[in-house]
């Protein structure tokens, strides 16, 4: 008789979700689904608000990556104003966005995933958390806290507030940077370089021990999407869209992000509040995309900071063509942290970074605006339409985690088929299925436009829905 295993909720991710695994009569996994169980509705309730409130309003979508939404939203508003923001403002937004990426990646890598990576997927679940890491690998736990703190401190130093700052405004930023603040941020960099250096080394050495996970964690061909600079280098804040296939062949190049609707379709599944965007020309669900650190490493031709570029070249040598295993999201995240540090270093040494000219003023000149940036988890799109008085008539957001929805679903099916083959539930097996989701670092609060560390409950049900077994963590 067929059975359904439910992992509810999925832990150590941002947001609320559950996984159901369907087992056939022989006890083999026949289907796996990732359900996002929370609903937010931001697109609806911003209707009727003045457009210039959008950055701060949209930042409230998430407490982890408010800056990502600030950036994409402010860019959409720039488009409505039809202004080119001052060079210094653009650089300051970049610094803020990179700081955000660093703190978010540090959170994902150290707080959420290092318990699996350092303590082992089969280790005692009661200790498989950041406190367990602190006990066994205190240096790594401290490194994680320090890196995340760096990102948050940069945000606070520039924008006055660590979470939900209101510094990014339509037309630029609301205050110029001072020399004191710049020097303070620069003084933190050496320690952070050391941390990311040793973490990268340890991670690379550990890859050998995760061969099975690398082979089975959402390791399959797909398209990859990300922003790049005009010369195809890594870019987080501005730039053009690029899509490559599993062989690393460029499918779409130098696409103006405001043409996203020609490239991206959005599908809705009945069992999840998370939409499934896909590459339109390839259809649904064939146009499965991956975005985020792994995708960005796959779409670019290099990184314009020296140390990160070396690491990127080594990373890409893992496979011919694109790197396909989602397990390598973790590794890619570390390379991006290094890039973030180097880029902040570069930008803060730019002669114009302290300029007082940081905001362009204008009235709305367009009825529509599209802002696209790279959030830590991938490409983020904000799209607004306003009426003649500047009030929002319609909004559409496509969030990085949404882009990864199809791949996450297929990834848990792949891992479940590999690890779960009997009617017995082993906690470590289920943890690996969850860990596939964790490798993508989904942000469900964002992508459903909640927070919580809740206990994991696994239920084993027969085909009629009758509860056969239940294990609680």
């Amino acid at each position: 008789m067929g059975k359904t295993i439910t992992i509810d909720p999925v832990t150590r991710i941002e947001g609320h979700s559950k996984i159901t695994l369907k087992l056939d009569d022989a006890g083999h996994v026949s289907d796996a689904r990732f359900h996002v169980t929370q609903f937010r509705g931001f697109e609806k309730f911003c209707e009727g608000r003045p457009f210039y409130e959008m950055p701060a309003l949209m930042a409230r979508i998430c407490g982890i990556c408010p800056v990502s939404h600030l950036v994409a939203s402010a860019k959409a508003c720039d488009a409505i104003l039809a202004v080119k923001i001052p060079e210094t403002a653009a650089m300051l937004r970049q610094v803020l966005n990179l700081a955000q990426m660093i703190q978010s990646h540090a959170l994902s890598y150290f707080y959420l995933s290092s318990p699996d990576l350092l303590l082992g997927f089969d280790s005692d679940p009661a200790k498989r958390n950041i406190f367990g890491v602190l006990e066994k690998n205190p240096q790594d736990a401290r490194d994680g806290v320090r890196l995340r703190r760096f990102g948050q401190q940069v945000i606070e130093t520039l924008a006055d507030k660590r979470i939900h700052p209101a510094w990014l405004v339509p037309g630029g930023v609301d205050q110029a940077l001072t020399a004191d603040k710049r020097d303070l941020v620069l003084s933190w960099l050496p320690e952070c370089y050391e941390i990311v250096g040793r973490t990268l080394e340890r991670t690379k050495q550990s890859l050998e021990g995760f061969r099975e996970e690398i082979r089975t964690f959402a390791n399959f061909p797909s398209l990859f999407m990300g922003l790049t600079t005009a010369d195809d280098k890594l870019e987080m804040t501005d730039g053009v869209l690029r899509i490559v296939d599993a062989n690393g062949k460029v499918v779409v190049d130098n696409a103006d992000p405001s043409t996203y609707r020609e490239l991206i379709g959005e599908a809705v599944e009945p069992d999840s509040y998370l939409k499934s965007p896909y590459f339109k020309p390839a259809g649904y669900p064939g146009g499965m995309l991956r975005v985020g650190p792994l995708a960005r490493m796959n779409v670019i031709d290099g990184i314009d900071t020296p140390r990160a570029n070396e690491e990127w070249a080594e990373f890409r040598s893992l496979e011919r063509g694109a790197v396909l295993s989602s397990f390598h999201y973790h590794y890619a995240r570390l390379i991006e942290i290094l890039f973030g540090l180097e880029k902040i270093d570069q930008l803060l040494h730019h002669p114009a970074i302290l300029s007082k000219q940081v905001r362009a003023h204008a009235r709305p000149n367009n009825f529509e605006g599209i802002g696209v940036s790279e959030a830590p988890r991938g490409t983020l799109i904000h799209h607004y339409r306003i009426d003649e008085n500047g009030l929002i008539e319609w909004a559409n957001l496509i969030i990085a985690t949404g882009f990864n929805n199809l791949a996450m679903n297929r990834g848990i099916l792949q891992a479940a088929r590999h690890y779960i083959s009997s009617q017995e539930i082993h906690e470590g097996m289920l943890n690996r299925v969850e860990a596939v989701i964790r490798s993508f670092d989904p942000c469900l609060s964002c992508s459903t436009h909640a927070v919580g560390a809740m206990p994991l409950v696994v239920e084993l049900r027969d085909a009629g829905g009758r509860l056969l077994d239940r294990k609680a963590r």
Partner: protein, 251 residues
């Protein structure tokens, strides 16, 4: 509709008669034409207010300045209650605090005051009052009314979601600017500030675009267009100077 305020005639000469009373057990003296609120402030005793503003006729709309007067069980709005000989006034008690907190809670529940994403966040008199009175959450349910934003004016925005019906805009426009563009339409919970005969602000023929209403508005209801969240801080100090200058000229 409220009684229509009109441009204020030159203030009559202040009375020279003096009353003595006690406020919070302190013996104070005040001119007979002074309100309890003014007498308290003259003596360094602070009473919370919201609709009251120096330079505008008091209306007693918000009731936050309520005080107890010995000999009467009802409460008096100190901004519109004149001092009396031998009056014993209490400005702070458990009962008053409870009422003031409830008033602020009801103001928050009646409209959509979402401080976190409001342009006046950090510069708002309602927010300050909530902090002062310790209103950290509501014990009454939010009504979450669906209210429009009037952004038809070229430079200003009227967001009914943040309005507390203090009528400062109505008074400053009628009494100081003399345009009388603003008024109140409807009654009770359905009351709304309106421009002219309830038409979009941008099409108002009487509005001079002076912006006084925006500056005196205690919350994020009337704001300058294009101000982002936390950016809208108001300047109200112009008002006493303006009235003083006019009184000087009329002499």
């Amino acid at each position: 509709m409220s009684s229509r305020p009109s441009a204020k005639p030159a203030a009559p000469a202040p009375s020279s008669k003096v009353k003595t009373l006690t406020i919070d057990d302190r013996l104070v003296s005040a001119r007979e034409d002074e309100s309890i609120l003014d007498a308290a402030r003259d003596n360094g005793i602070q009473i919370p207010t919201l609709c009251n503003l120096d330079g505008l006729t008091p209306v007693g709309a918000c009731r936050l300045c309520m005080v107890e007067v010995k000999g009467s069980s009802r409460l008096f709005a100190s901004c519109v209650t004149m001092v009396g000989e031998g009056m014993e006034v209490v400005t702070d008690s458990e009962r008053l605090q409870k009422y003031r907190k409830t008033i602020v809670e009801l103001l928050f529940s009646e409209r959509n005051h979402v401080c976190a994403v409001c342009v006046s966040n950090g510069h708002c008199e309602l927010q300050n009052l909530a902090q002062l009175l310790g209103v950290t959450h509501l014990t009454v349910p939010y009504l979450n009314p669906k209210l429009p934003v009037d952004a038809s004016h070229e430079r200003f925005v009227n967001d009914h979601n943040r309005c507390v019906l203090c009528q400062r805009c109505v008074r400053v426009c009628g009494e100081v600017e003399g345009a009388h563009t603003w008024d109140i339409n409807g009654r009770g919970i359905g009351a709304r500030v309106i421009t002219d005969l309830n038409q979009p602000w941008g099409s108002s023929e009487t509005c001079t675009g002076c912006g006084k209403c925006v500056q005196v508005c205690p919350t994020g209801a009337l704001t300058e267009k294009g101000k982002s969240v936390r950016e809208m801080s108001k300047r109200t100090r112009f008002l006493p100077y303006l009235t003083m200058m006019r009184e000087d000229r009329s002499e």
